[in-house]
Symmetry: C2
Amino acid sequence: MAEHPCGTCRFYQDSIWQPLPMASASLLSKGFVRRELAAGETLYHQGSGCRSVYCVSGGLFAIRSIGPDGTSSLMRLAYPGEIIGYRAFLKGGEHSTEASALMPSRVCTVAERDARHVIRASPAVLERIAKRCADGLDQCREQLMSKETVSNKDRLFDLLNRLMSAFGEEAGGGRRVRLPMSRQDLADLIGVAPETLSRLLSRLEREGALRASGRRIEMPADPAQRAAQR
Amino acid sequence: MAEHPCGTCRFYQDSIWQPLPMASASLLSKGFVRRELAAGETLYHQGSGCRSVYCVSGGLFAIRSIGPDGTSSLMRLAYPGEIIGYRAFLKGGEHSTEASALMPSRVCTVAERDARHVIRASPAVLERIAKRCADGLDQCREQLMSKETVSNKDRLFDLLNRLMSAFGEEAGGGRRVRLPMSRQDLADLIGVAPETLSRLLSRLEREGALRASGRRIEMPADPAQRAAQR
DNA sequence: CGCTCGGTTGAGCGTCCTCAACACCCGTGG
DNA sequence: CCACGGGTGTTGAGGACGCTCAACCGAGCG
């Protein structure tokens, strides 16, 4: 019989497609596509109108905004478990950003048509999508807030910590990670010029919070906490 | 018979409660309360859990965030036509901000219970609320964006223009408005220290974009445009 | 009168931006 | 093998902007 397509997913219990009555589940299965993306591949383009709902189930996505002059800037990251593309789905317009994989990644896709079918049959799904949207709003406001209250250096440190805990590995009394993005992207992410980012990294390094060499970042296990505490 | 409670509202055509089948409309009427607030009155408190959905139908509301240390800061304004309180409604948690009237104002309130009843009967309403949430998200990102790209002076000018067109009046070859908030609030709104706000105003004045005296702001009609163009 | 409160003005300072030069990595091509 | 060039990242100098602290001003009020 129709198993729930998210049944084996690591994020099943928090899935927006769950719980679902049997009939809706088989409806969902029809429109459900699991997709692997190589690093650099783009999932959807800014301005495109293909309004699927995507659930990141592995890897990392860059949500970029492309200015009228062609320059693009990394606005935020989407980690496994996050829903992306819901904004265009809810508003029914075009995507206002583009999403591309920063490392080999996987998404589960439900095409707009099918998603709307499922929602018609099970309105609770829409409720859960709306909740994700409200979460996104909270995050955005949080970001706006921290921009005023937290120093760029600290925000960079927080970001690196987040990446470290998501993708890092243990390495002799500390952790190590290979950053999946360029300095330029890193700079965009915390909202600073690349030169400034470089200097912030130097400062963190001088303070003993980390060691950086190219895209390799190492952080001492406990000492970093103590040093960063200051 | 049960008229639609929003029927006579200036924002009826964009109402989230519209269109609605007759049966749902009378359901809505039951939970529908129009409320007048005096300047300074607060609509809901941060941390409170009474999750009505509010529609601003007149006046102006301040959405404030109150820090753990008791200091409050004006995060954003809610103009007539906007829905507020939907975040707590969607997430089912407490309000993360407080809303208070900056001038004599009016809101239309639908209590959580009744709102959920209406939604159960007419899921399209939830869809419209979700859309408003996505709008809010867009606005928030827009704000984040403009923070990086637009100077504080220009952002202040834009804000004053917005207030001017919402609440200003014609006055001898220009427009005039009485600001419904303190300098501190104005400063919070554009994310700047009060001293800096004062200087920004001086600069705008020196450039001929406006004349400010206390809470009175005057803007020349066309010359301002030309002067601001520079 | 003197108080407080909101607002303005001034001085000093830190941070970040811009522009520019330079260092480095790694490919291609001689 | 080495020279070259582009892309990427770092470093330096100079300047703009906003923050903080502090003094001051004016209005409203006991």
